[in-house]
């Protein structure tokens, strides 16, 4: 009906002015964010009130215009209305860009799918806000673990380090609200310092394709973004309260957003989590409590042509480390491994004692963008991060309450990015990055510095281009160069300095020679090239293929270069190497996927070769007065990783769905012809989900998780002499634990309460059968079982 009226209007007004004017204005209306054509946008010419709609290709034509300026209003149901002034001269073509805010909000909240992808030829896995909320009381790593191909390297149950296709730590970049996290991520027992509740969605890129964030993502990139804020007058919020039986703890998170039609907005978010000792099926895991407090604040202005935002977040987490994992030498290790129960089991408590970690991460970001008509969008960002990490060991005497490790890492980054649509079919992204980082290791600990004092300077430049050949094919290519320079001042033990031959190779970097320590000033610098090349092909509406090659170059991290000494939490001596160069990864990933409501699947095989891959492996046993310790040295080798991740989802009956995940990864050290250590075992997750929108959106899920035994591992056992028994015994640190199977249940139901508020009640049980198991990728698996049966109850209030 509306169209008839429009046609009528068009006819009438057209005839009224057609005597003198016969020009036309034609073009398209597109989403300014990603160039999506907007179907059904309405254009109204002020004065004549002539009106047209865009067709299914986003195109429009307005005829009967004179050689003059016109004011044109453009409407779209999911966009804020915009007015444009157009100078018509002859037949004029013009592209109108609208900001597609409202639909983004809808997609985030309703479907959990945001519009902007980070790469176009690598399949991205997304965890929506709905799914994230189920991990409200857990960690970022727990949430990511729900994706195929992602596992986690754990230290107990609260230090959860995401691992993408077998790679972790410095090889996985974590981007928090556009800021690359610099939170001492090199440590395998350093969990990411992000509150899982601060993210609106999580996006996983299994490769180095997202060059705007860095070229060193040998493993992949995890992008956490806040929920999009609409450009409307609105006030809304959400609060989630979760209680769990294990750890007898609760988690409370709340967020409140205020937005205005004129583009201004503000959002606050906060989380408090407190858990006592976690429990395995048969015993308390003593000293595994956690106390986490986070807050974040956004303030900004979002207009079509420009915008600015200030963001600040504070993350503070205290984590207890299993008391039974703190050991002396190899003899203690033998006892701890031989015992099938932890050697220290105390009564449940909320107290967190040594060994423990206390980490504070602060992040501040200022961002501004300006859109230049016909050129593109320019963004400028400055961010500052301060990461303060305290680690407390079990100590003696006056040092009892002092931290053994006290590192303060400050990072300043400035980025200039440029996005442009070169044509209707192609777009360009380019940018510059400068970064300064300072690490300060507090000497007041009374323990020699694990990571030395250093200043680090990084400079990066990148560009990526994509081009849509036709409806089916899209190609993408990009390159990045990074230069990094470190200025380090490190005290080496004189005996180590000589044992490694540094005295002969690097006499020129010695600053001071003291009795038993040498102060050296190494200045390593690295030039890294990275690149990506890929294509996507759409077979038809349902089938799609992604093929991508990425080249990633990663400079060795401070731990790989400078580690020197006893690492208590691992009961081993770790040694870095000053001579390391960058590791270079080549990865080819293919994704074949089908997407439809009834049956979807995705098959994602990949092969990766990494030259000069840095691994840490045991080399010898060293005698000290504390007993014998295994020495683990970093070394460089060539590695190959192969694997496949499979996801499938099938709606086999009305309201019922079956979800399947399967992942296999194989890593090989090509030089030594042996498997790589700590590769994720084959695992599969299968779930049956019942969801009924008509029944208060009742959702019931029963999930089975089966993890096979890792049969491919390097043998790293060592023998040690035990004076008490006068025998030589083998310390078995390499044999993986057995396969395990656990069952989990999860449910939720929406309860409408008055007005716009609604309440969602969730109930879940993990490890329903209370199975005792150990996980190969848990660094504390030698000492204790994993978690037992856990009941969780959550209340979510949207308002």
């Amino acid at each position: 009906m509306r169209n008839y009226v429009l046609v009528l209007l068009l006819y009438c007004s057209g005839s009224a002015i057609s005597q003198t004017c016969s020009n036309s204005l034609s073009g398209t209306v597109i989403d300014s964010h990603d160039g999506t054509l907007l179907v059904g946008a309405t254009l109204i010419v002020a004065g004549t009130e002539q009106s047209v709609d865009t067709d299914f290709e986003g195109k429009f034509t307005i005829s009967g215009l004179c050689d003059q300026s016109y004011s044109i209003q453009v409407y779209h149901p999911y966009c804020s209305t915009r007015g444009f002034t157009v100078r018509v001269s002859g037949d004029t073509k013009r592209t109108f860009r609208l900001e597609h805010h409202l639909e983004e909000l809808n997609e985030v909240t309703l479907q959990g799918k945001a519009m902007l992808t980070k790469t176009k030829t690598l399949n991205e896995n997304v965890i929506s806000s709905d799914a994230l909320e189920r991990f409200s009381s857990g960690s970022l790593g727990d949430a990511l673990n729900s994706l195929s191909g992602v596992s986690s390297l754990n230290t107990g149950n609260t230090v959860v380090k995401p691992m993408i296709n077998g790679l972790h730590s410095s090889r996985v970049l974590i981007i928090n609200n556009g800021v690359r996290m610099e939170d001492q991520e090199w440590g395998s027992e350093h969990a990411p310092n992000i509150d899982v509740n601060s993210a609106g969605n999580l996006r996983l890129i299994k490769g180095a394709g997202a060059l705007q964030y860095g070229g060193d993502a040998v493993g992949g990139v995890i992008v956490a973004e806040s929920a999009k804020i609409p450009v409307t007058d609105s006030l809304y919020g959400k609060t989630i309260l979760t209680g769990a039986s294990i750890g007898r703890g609760t988690s409370l998170t709340t967020q409140l957003t205020k937005s205005y039609k004129n583009g201004w907005y503000a959002a606050v978010q906060g989380t408090v989590k407190r858990f006592g000792d976690f429990e395995a099926p048969e015993y308390v895991l003593s000293n595994t409590g956690t106390f986490e407090r986070n807050a974040a604040l956004h303030v900004g202005l979002n207009r079509f042509n420009y915008g600015l935002e200030a963001y600040y977040s504070l993350f503070k987490n205290e984590i207890g480390i299993l008391r039974a994992s703190h050991l002396g030498g190899a003899e203690d290790q033998i006892r701890a491994i031989a015992s099938n129960r932890p050697l220290v089991i105390n009564d449940f408590t909320y107290d967190i004692n040594s060994p423990r970690q206390d980490v504070t991460h602060q992040l501040a970001r200022l961002k501004a963008f300006k859109r230049f008509e016909g050129i593109g969008k320019v963004s400028l960002q400055y961010d500052f991060q301060q990461n303060h990490r305290l680690e407390y060991d079990v100590r003696r005497g006056d040092d009892r309450n002092d931290a053994s490790l006290d590192l303060q890492l400050k990072t300043h980054t400035a980025m200039l990015d440029f996005d442009s649509h070169l044509s209707e079919n192609s777009s360009l992204k380019a940018g510059l990055m400068g970064r300064f980082q300072n690490n300060f290791a507090n000497p007041g600990t009374g323990v020699r510095r694990l990571i030395p004092d250093y200043d680090k300077y990084d400079f990066g430049v990148y560009a990526t281009v994509d081009y849509r050949l036709n409806d089916d094919w899209l190609v993408e290519a990009g390159g990045r160069f990074d230069y990094s320079y470190m200025d380090v001042l490190k005290y080496y033990r004189a005996s180590l300095w000589e044992a490694r031959g540094y005295d002969e190779r690097y006499p020129e970097i010695v600053v001071l020679e003291l009795d038993n320590q040498i102060l050296a000033n190494p200045e390593p610098n690295f030039n890294n090239f990275s690149a990506t090349l890929g294509t996507t092909y759409s077979f038809n509406d349902n089938y799609k293929m992604y093929l991508n090659y990425s080249l990633a170059s990663r400079a060795p991290n401070p731990s790989e270069l400078f580690s020197e000494g006893l690492h208590h939490s691992a009961s081993r001596i770790e040694l870095g190497d000053l001579d390391f160069n960058s590791e270079i990864g080549h990865k080819v990933a293919l994704t074949f996927q089908r997407e439809s409501d009834i049956f979807s699947f995705s098959v994602n095989p990949y092969v990766q070769r990494i030259d000069d891959f840095i691994v840490i492996e045991p080399t010898e046993v060293q005698q000290t007065i504390r007993g014998n310790f295994q020495v683990w040295e970093y070394r460089q080798t060539n590695a190959q990783l192969l694997g496949v991740d499979v996801d499938a989802s099938y709606a086999f009956a009305h309201n019922f769905r079956y979800n399947h995940q399967f992942s296999v990864a194989k890593g090989n050290d090509l030089s030594r012809k042996e498997p790589l250590i700590n590769m994720p075992p084959v695992n599969t997750k299968n779930a049956v989900v019942y969801q009924n929108i008509d029944l208060n959106n009742l959702r019931l899920q029963l999930q089975s998780e089966y993890v096979f035994r890792q049969n491919e591992y390097p043998e790293t056992n060592f023998d040690v002499f035990i004076p008490a028994t006068q025998t030589s015994e083998t310390v078995d640190v390499s044999t993986p634990p057995d396969a395990y199977h656990i069952l989990n249940f999860d449910s939720s139901v929406d309860i409408g309460i008055r007005g716009k508020s609604d309440l969602t009640v969730g109930f879940g049980i993990t490890n329903i059968l209370n199975t005792s198991y150990r996980n190969y990728l848990n660094r504390l698996r030698y000492y204790a079982d994993d978690l037992g049966r856990n009941f969780t109850l959550s209340l979510k209030l949207n308002y």
Binding site: G328, G434, P443, Q623, I625, P723
Partner: protein, 187 residues
């Protein structure tokens, strides 16, 4: 790469002006000498009949560094003699050396020293000093040399052992803070 370095300078200048305030490169970082490390264990055995002391020592001056510990046994034990033993623990990475035995005595309820001899060696050891709770501490002991024999005698300092315990390392558990095995001959 010189050019790139130069190119980076203006870009980084703004950052550096705020960043360099606290830790200037011209400053030498403060040296850290390990405060807790035990470098030296010295066991002094004084014969009751006023003969010369027998000194057993294990020294590892670089702590967790690559150098091997050095062992020293000043002489053989005499069969049938009872010795008064005392154990001294030092941190010699600092000057003057820090006496760790004092710390062990101050926190006596959290520590215990154990003596383990292998089956070949005929000696008997008895701990004589107690902690503040009246349980064994073990910094002082008596050693009685039996028949002529040769074997290994091990001294182990455990932190946070189970107390009281049955006198074996296995029962006591805790963490090993120091350990020294000496080859001993009774003649």
């Amino acid at each position: 790469m010189k050019i790139l370095k130069i190119a980076a300078i203006p870009f980084l200048t703004a950052l550096l002006s705020t960043a360099c305030s606290s830790d200037d490169n011209g400053n030498i970082p403060e040296i850290v000498n390990e405060e807790e490390v035990i470098t030296t264990m010295t066991v002094t055995l004084s014969p009751e009949d006023n003969g010369a002391d027998i000194i057993l020592s294990k020294t590892d001056l670089d702590g967790d560094g690559p150098n091997m510990p050095v062992f020293n046994v000043s002489g053989n034990l005499t069969s049938g003699t009872t010795y008064t033993g005392s154990i001294e623990l030092l941190n010699e990475t600092v000057t003057p050396a820090e006496n760790i035995t004092d710390e062990v005595k101050e926190e006596s309820e959290e520590h215990q020293l154990f003596y383990t001899s292998d089956d070949n060696l005929d000696v008997t050891t008895v701990s004589v000093d107690n902690d503040s709770d009246g349980n064994l501490l073990g910094t002082e002991f008596t050693l009685t040399a039996g028949a002529a024999s040769t074997g290994t005698l091990t001294f182990t300092l455990r932190h946070e052992p189970k107390k009281p315990n049955d006198g074996t390392l296995t029962d006591a558990a805790g963490e090993t803070d120091a350990e020294a095995s000496f080859s001993i001959t009774v003649e």
